[in-house]
Amino acid sequence: MPATAETVRVRRRLGRLERPALAGVLVREVINYSSYWRSVTFSSTVEPTIYLLAFGFGFGSLVSTVAGYDYVEFVGTGTVATAVLFSSVFAAMFGTFVKREFQRTYDAILAAPVDTEELVTAEALWIAIRASVYGCAPLLVAMVFGLDPSWGMLLVPLICFVTGFGWASAGALISALMKSIDNFSYVTSTLITPMFLVAGTFFPISGLPEWAQVAAWFNPLYHCVELVRAACFGFDGWVDLAHLSILLAFGIAMWRLAIWATARRLID
């Protein structure tokens, strides 16, 4: 065998979160994406758009302004968070479960020089990248119906990325904790649907009873909605910094928990 780079043996422990390992997992996702991007893009963009149009026209005919915004502006910016949520948490829940239990993909990846930490991180990154693109779809649709473009909107993909990373990690965590894919419906009904509704997407939180307003602060989606609105209509200093900090904390917490739970599932 000729002495090529691959036959040179480096006698050392490989580090954590190595770039080649992350790249390997990402490349697998990207190549697979080429075979299913149509359906994912369809559901991830059309669904929030339908919410946007339904609420926009439905409620929009009853109320013209909400919290000082045109209702289309209010809902158009709010459904960005919906698009991020749908394209990240469900993709991660179902995707990781199928790859772990049915396709056994993770067994193959972990037999390669990739650790669970790298596997979970790379997959969350990939879903977050997708969410940062899909999250912009409602904004573009809202522009057609009168939302004015602004420079701050350029930050929306970044906000979507941070939120998407957190939700992707949360999805991976949920998937690792569930024994059966049927149990996902418990989580969807008790956790995800309420969060999706009480996030200030379709109606302002300020109209809710006080306990619900407090609860909304524990909802990462609410902070995403607020940040997106701030990016589109103007930032409000410390409050927005608080929103961003909470989103980052959510992302980091879910990321570490997802790694822990996934390793427990994959390594005997």
């Binding site: 997992v25 056994r104 390669a112 020089p113 005997d268």
Partner: protein
């Protein structure tokens, strides 16, 4: 540390709750050889395989793979080995070539060598004319060849084959044996778990028979046969009562016996003390005789 061993296991123990799947296993795999891990279902073969890639962490014992200590240095070891899983885990919506490309990244084949690595793997698995076929459109045999090719893109020094031909036609099985044999003749070290005796007999330089998580015998297949079963076996056919009778008298006479379902096979004929074995069909003793003798007739 012996430098000439690709795999060295010492007193390895792995428990799952109350069950001890691997119970003090010793295993040596000299570089450039093919070792067959033989045993009935539940003997601990798959758990052993998983421990070698740190997908299961041993509770006790020493594991050394390619000179690296496991589980701490498992990642470096994994970079230099290829794994063919028992369960097909190809990306089914990707083509043959795409499946291989993904693995050139996962196994860190340097960019300038990726193209060539894919071609070599396609060639080796005889899949070059199927490169653009989706994995879910391949036959069972082709999928298995692709699984093997996928494990070879980075020219591993050690390949783990977990039940490489389980559930395949005899024709397909022969095809895979040729592929594994070619790999071995290139000097790749191979650990192959199997419960097909013939597979181990044909491919393995050395066989370790596992039962209840322990290695109960290790050696060249022919040596194991000579040692545990003798040169020849006699098969006696008859109704169940007659078989029981033959069995009892043979055992009393110092021979070993095993049921084959329809007959009783008498083994270790040289040990016969009571006037020699009864009449029956003579045949060469084989590894299957050893396997059943050592791992028991009862299905656990």
């Amino acid at each position: 540390m012996e430098e000439n061993l690709a795999i060295r296991l010492r007193r390895v123990v792995k428990r799952f709750g109350p069950i001890t799947a691997v119970d003090g296993l010793d295993l040596d795999l000299p570089f450039g050889t093919c070792v067959g891990l033989l045993g009935p279902n539940g003997a601990g073969k798959s758990t052993t395989m998983k421990m070698l890639t740190a997908q299961a962490i041993a509770d006790e014992g020493e594991l050394n793979v390619l000179g690296y200590q496991l589980p701490g240095d498992s990642k470096v070891a994994r970079a230099e080995m290829g794994v063919v899983p028992q369960l097909d885990n190809l990306d089914t919506t990707l083509t043959v070539e795409q499946n291989l490309r993904v693995f050139t990244y996962l196994y860190r084949v340097p960019r300038p060598q990726r193209r060539e690595a894919i071609e070599r793997a396609l060639e080796m698995a005889n899949l070059a004319d199927r490169r653009d076929t989706r994995a879910d459109k391949l036959s069972g045999g082709m999928r298995r060849r692709l699984l093997i090719a996928r494990a070879l893109v980075h020219r591993p020094r050690l390949v783990l084959l977990d039940e490489p031909t389980v559930g395949l036609d005899p024709q397909v099985r022969q095809e895979l044996w040729a592929l594994i044999d070619a790999l071995r003749s290139e000097g790749t070290s191979i650990l192959m778990s199997t419960h097909y005796i013939e597979e181990a007999e044909r491919l393995a330089d050395s066989v370790t028979i596992m039962s209840h998580g322990k290695a109960v015998a290790t050696g060249r297949p022919s040596e194991l046969v000579a040692e545990h079963a003798g040169a020849e076996a006699i098969e006696v056919y008859g109704p169940p009562d007659r078989l029981r009778e033959v069995e009892a008298s043979a055992r009393a006479g110092g021979m070993s016996t095993r049921r084959t379902g329809t007959s009783v096979a008498l083994l270790r004929l040289d040990d016969a003390t009571n006037g020699g074995p009864p009449d029956g069909e003579r045949r060469s003793a084989n590894l299957e005789d050893v396997f059943v003798l050592l791992t028991g007739e009862e299905i656990s």
